[in-house]
Amino acid sequence: MGNRITIPFGSQHVALPEPIKFVFQTENERITSVEVDVGYVHRGIEKACQTKFKYTQVGYVVARVCGLCSISHTLAYVTAVERLMEVEVPKRALYLRLIVSELDRVHSHLLAMGHTAEVAGYENLFMQTFRYRETVMELLELLTGNRVQYDYACIGGVNRDVTPEVAKTLKERLKELKEKCLWIKDVFENDLTLKYRWKGVGVVTKEMAKEFNVVGPPARAAGLETDCRAEFNYLPFDEVGYKMVVRKGGDIYDRNLVRAYEVLNSIEMVENALDSLPQGEIKVPVKGLPDGESFVRVEAPRGELFYYVKGSKKLVLDRVRIRVPTFANIPVMKELFIGMDYSDVPATVISFDPCLSCTAR
């Protein structure tokens, strides 16, 4: 019999800036069972959306679910309402939504990669990654007016247009950013110590990914070809050079590489979208009240974001349901920990890029 110890990981932990708690039972540092608690900061946003706010305001409320992917939340909500009310969104607005949504993915992925580097003890890489992420934050501020809570999409279109000057600046700075991201990808792909630290650690096999319905970069890193950008028509990804990034290892190394390659593809898509930006309106007026139900799948940086809305010709909706990617990935994380060495837990958890702000919305 080995040395049995109970280790609480979180809700406050140096490796994990999120209020989630895992309680690990270990035997000689190997995990034998795990309990999870995600409810420290439940904010009742779904309840607020169906009691306090009009359907036209909910987009701004759900943007506050998460600071990192607020664009995806608003985008999913407005798309669901537009489908319910049969609103035809102008093409220019769809392109602008795509640009902002992909820039959001770039900064979110860079943040996740930086955190993984930090947990592996590679602080220099962490700082460089965050430094380059700053460029994207500045570009998003230029486009939307805000660094974090963007409130860009609205029912019927978007709130701000892009001027030719801003488009020019975006293109110039994206060119610089692409070079920096290529360097980051190169380090994550070829650095020998990172390979030793991450290859074969925290492996989600393709079978596990299917069994546990894993979403987002962890699923694609395991070889599962799933991406809402390919499986749901919400933005014109096919027109701007979207490519699905799939790898087979399913480990921390591959999860980071999926993000690294997706960052490059996102930059490419933004450049293409800016080059072929259609002329015309950015918003159409929306009349009437939502009646019936609608649901959408949107690929947030962390994976599939599912929104369900139901209205009955009232200003306030009957139901707003938000199923976020971290929520979908918690079951596989829990399963993955069994049999793993405790020392591999922080890097594995961070490589999933968990967001408790979204999970306990």
Binding site: N213, A230, E231, F295, R323, A328, P331, A360
Partner: protein, 114 residues
Amino acid sequence: MEVEEIKVPLRDVRKTIKEFYEEDKWHFITVNAVDLGGKVELKWFFSPYGEKERFKVVVSEVSYDEEIPTITYLIPSAWISEWELADLFGLNVEGAKTGLFLEPDSPKAPLRRG
């Protein structure tokens, strides 16, 4: 969007899902609840991998005290959606524990009407 809705009584939900669900083909998204006042409408959402805008939705209605059969025997990851139903709607789901999303001093069943 192509949506196939299958309305079944609660006792047939597991059987219905078992008939079509293959983990190679279908992606289980979530189970969603809407309080209709006195009863709750449940919807289990599925989408096939690699196909555009296609959904299969299993629909059933449940009263507040009825036991909801778990589908974790078929889909192991479904437990988290089921535990959420127990927490936020106060529903009686087979094998579900409460307290995953809400703390002991939180309001009980906050997403119920009234």
